[in-house]
């Protein structure tokens, strides 16, 4: 068993100083209140609880995790749609952690967001043209060719017909609406786009169209992405670096190659083994890990390592001491794992790990 080893002053895999986005110790606690007239706080949902990462210019960072792990909250904290409880967000050399709304508007020129649900993120009473032009008008940007022409160019960029300028969102399918949302986020030529589950509401064949579009845009305009998704295969396809979140913490971050072939954190192993692959032969090749139960409540997260309640390697140390996100022995530099007892860097495993009490018991039940 290898031990973790901290690299002094290095908490992410990217050197500091040249990053477009730097997030340090970011926290978001949502208060839980009780009482009718006098509301007092009785607890807090620890949605995001101290995470660090950075994104370089033109780079794409994937954030994966299951529901409730805080990945969407992280996206909203970066774009300051939510006010962080603690920590700092430095974007383009400027600390935007607690920037007032008026000054935030300037930062948002370079910091845009694509939302998950293309049905609720477009105003149904605005035409497509208005939706795409609004960011430009609000920021006082007057493109030389005029707003309308620019909006039509953007429609063309995202693969829609410029003649759709005067139509309303309800006239479009889900995939087309997502394209409208993408055109809107491109209107200000941002440096960073936070894409929060941009394809999970779409059909499989349409997903690929949108993923390809985002990839083309990233290459063409050199936009950096924070790509939030629960689908590990999509994230692998889109992001050079991937961070795995669990219950408000980053448990493992590495470049794509390293994370998907040599994961070290038990949770990453469990996640990868759970993804069903459309290949009948893949079933036999892969390790099989079946966790028990669900993710614990973020209101009262487990002490020490948060994954310990579902982990097959948990020991006393895991309950008392929180494992730091650091390079584990045997990992390449830039591959950080928050685990006291990291797994071997391979996806092969001799024996199945089945923690679910309902599986494989074969209890006979009489009717």
């Amino acid at each position: 068993m290898s031990t973790t080893q901290s690299l002094t002053g290095q908490t992410t895999d990217r050197p500091t100083g040249e990053n477009l986005l730097e997030v340090r110790g970011l926290q978001k606690h949502f208060p839980i209140r009780q009482g009718i007239i006098f509301q007092r706080q009785i607890g807090a949902v620890h949605a995001v609880d101290g995470i660090d990462f950075s994104v370089g210019p033109g780079e794409s960072l994937g954030l994966v995790g299951e529901s409730g792990c805080g990945k969407s909250t992280t996206g909203r904290l970066i774009t300051r749609l939510l006010e962080p409880t603690g920590g700092s967000v430095v974007f383009d050399g400027e600390d935007i952690t607690h920037q007032p709304p008026a000054r935030m508007r300037e930062a948002r020129r370079n910091l845009q967001m694509i939302f998950q649900d293309p049905y609720s993120s477009l105003n149904p009473r605005h035409t497509v043209g208005t939706i795409i032009e609004t960011p430009m008008r609000l920021n006082g940007i007057n493109p030389p060719q005029g707003h309308k022409k620019r909006a039509q160019e953007l429609l063309e960029t995202v693969g829609l017909n410029p003649e759709h300028y005067n139509r309303y969102p309800n006239e479009f399918s889900g995939g087309q609406r997502q394209r409208i949302g993408i055109a809107r986020s491109l209107a200000l030529r941002p440096k960073l786009i936070v894409a929060d589950e941009p394809v999970s509401a779409l059909d499989v064949s349409i997903q690929a169209q949108v993923v390809n579009l985002l990839q083309d845009l990233q290459r063409e305009f050199g936009i950096a992405f924070v790509f939030i998704a629960h689908d590990l295969a999509v994230v692998r396809h889109f992001s050079e670096r991937v961070a795995v979140m669990y219950l408000g913490k980053i448990v493992e971050v590495a470049d794509r190659e390293s994370l998907y072939t040599r994961p070290r954190h038990p949770y990453t192993h469990a996640l990868l083994s759970a993804v069903p692959e459309a290949d009948p032969d893949a079933v036999e090749r892969r390790e099989r890990i079946r966790l028990a139960g669900d993710v614990p409540s973020p209101i009262d997260p487990p002490s020490g390592c948060r994954f310990r309640t579902r982990c097959w390697k948990a020991q006393d140390k895991c309950a008392t001491e929180e494992p730091p996100l650091a390079r584990a022995e045997g990992s390449p530099s830039g591959h950080l794992t928050a685990c006291h007892f990291p797994e071997e860097p391979t996806l092969a495993r001799e024996e199945d790990i089945v923690l679910d009490p309902a599986l494989g018991q074969g209890l006979p039940i009489e009717t």
Binding site: S205, Q207, N212, H230, R290, T367
Partner: protein
């Protein structure tokens, strides 16, 4: 009824009375805009102990098919025709009262969203016990015990305590387990699972799929699983039926369909999915366009407006002639509806592999 799977080809020569035999099922909905042909001539068979995966995009008619199996279109404006033979009984013409006796006992269903399928006002235990008491003459106490037993079997911790909980006190994965417990409480012979894991996280999805498989082995039920995720069917199904525009376009064993897909739509589905292994520089190859409207299906092959290979078939047959399901040579019961000749398919598939 034999529990063993039938080696007989399903469509080529009809096996002697299969457990479930759906023949030329059609479900049409009259609307103001026209007749929506949600399901238009679907046939399949299923034996006990086997799993059929129905795959398709939204609007391909897969959920409507599953509702028809349960007889849930009765009393609505839907026009259902065709035959559904289950254990020698025909379900399409069966009156609602008789259908009620079957529902839950012989055929039961796991719905996609357990939060809306469970009643928020009643405890989970009461709902499972009710499902049991409808079909069995037992006391409330016995039904309650049975509910506890089922909750325990599906892996709910502390079932004696949780049986008194309301659905909102359960997490998403536990609710789906409770749904499974409810659908299995009467030991049904046919279980229909409509996107049972779509609302769940991957680690929980893996647990639920394993659980369905375990329980199927134990109870020997036949399972129809409806999903858009080819990974899920690959994991759990023995046979795959691919639907497009309310019709079957490809049907065969899981291995045949996934390893030797014969329809350009199935190729498209497989190529548009990113994988966990392999080259990441490879671009995804999406299917252009969007699924068709079910009111005005394209003439000829419903897939032709999105098909990249219609040029391979001469004289524009794809736009005029609707392709019939043809057996794929060299396989047992793999059928596909496409005008492309086998040679053309080989050439295209080789080209795709080389180009990739």
């Amino acid at each position: 009824m034999s529990v063993q799977t039938s080696p007989q080809p399903a469509d080529v020569t009809p096996a002697p009375a299969p457990f479930l035999d759906v023949r030329d099922l059609r479900v049409h909905f009259p609307t103001e805009d026209g007749l929506v042909k949600s399901v238009d001539g679907v046939s399949f068979t299923l034996e006990k102990g086997r799993t059929l995966g129905i795959v398709g995009e939204s609007g391909s008619g897969k959920s409507v098919t599953s509702l028809a199996l349960l007889g849930l279109h009765k009393g609505t404006r839907a026009q259902v025709s065709g035959e559904i033979w289950l254990e020698g009984k025909e379900l399409v013409a069966l009156p609602e009262t008789e259908m009620r006796a079957l529902r839950g006992r012989t055929v039961s269903m796991i719905f996609q969203d357990p939060l809306s399928a469970l009643h928020p006002f009643f405890t989970v235990g009461a709902q499972i016990a009710e499902a049991y008491r409808v079909h069995h003459k037992v006391s409330k106490k016995e039904a309650r015990d049975r509910a506890v037993e089922m909750l325990k079997r599906v892996g709910i911790p502390q079932p004696e305590r949780r049986v008194r909980d309301y659905p909102h006190q359960f997490s998403g994965g536990m609710r789906q387990r409770a749904m499974i417990a409810m659908s299995l409480v009467c030991d049904p012979a046919l279980l229909i699972a409509d996107e049972p894991t779509t609302a769940l996280d991957v680690t929980v999805q893996a647990q639920i799929l394993d659980l369905i498989r375990d329980l199927q082995e134990e109870f020997g039920s036949a399972v129809v699983i409806i999903t858009h995720d080819l990974g899920v069917v690959s994991d759990i199904a023995d046979d795959i039926l691919v639907m497009y525009g309310g019709r079957r376009i490809e049907y065969g064993t899981t291995r045949d369909v996934l390893k030797q897909p014969q329809h350009p739509y199935t190729w498209g589905l497989l190529q548009s999915m990113p994988h966990l292994t392999g080259d990441v520089g490879e671009r995804l190859d999406p299917i252009p366009g969007t699924p068709p409207s079910l009111i005005n299906l394209p003439a000829g092959c419903a897939f032709h407006p999105r098909c990249a290979y219609k040029g391979w078939v001469h004289e524009g047959r794809c736009t005029v002639d609707r392709p019939e399901l043809r057996p794929v040579s060299g396989t047992g019961r793999h059928i596909a509806a496409c005008h492309l000749t086998d040679e053309a398919k080989h050439e295209i598939r080789d080209g795709v592999r080389k180009g990739a």
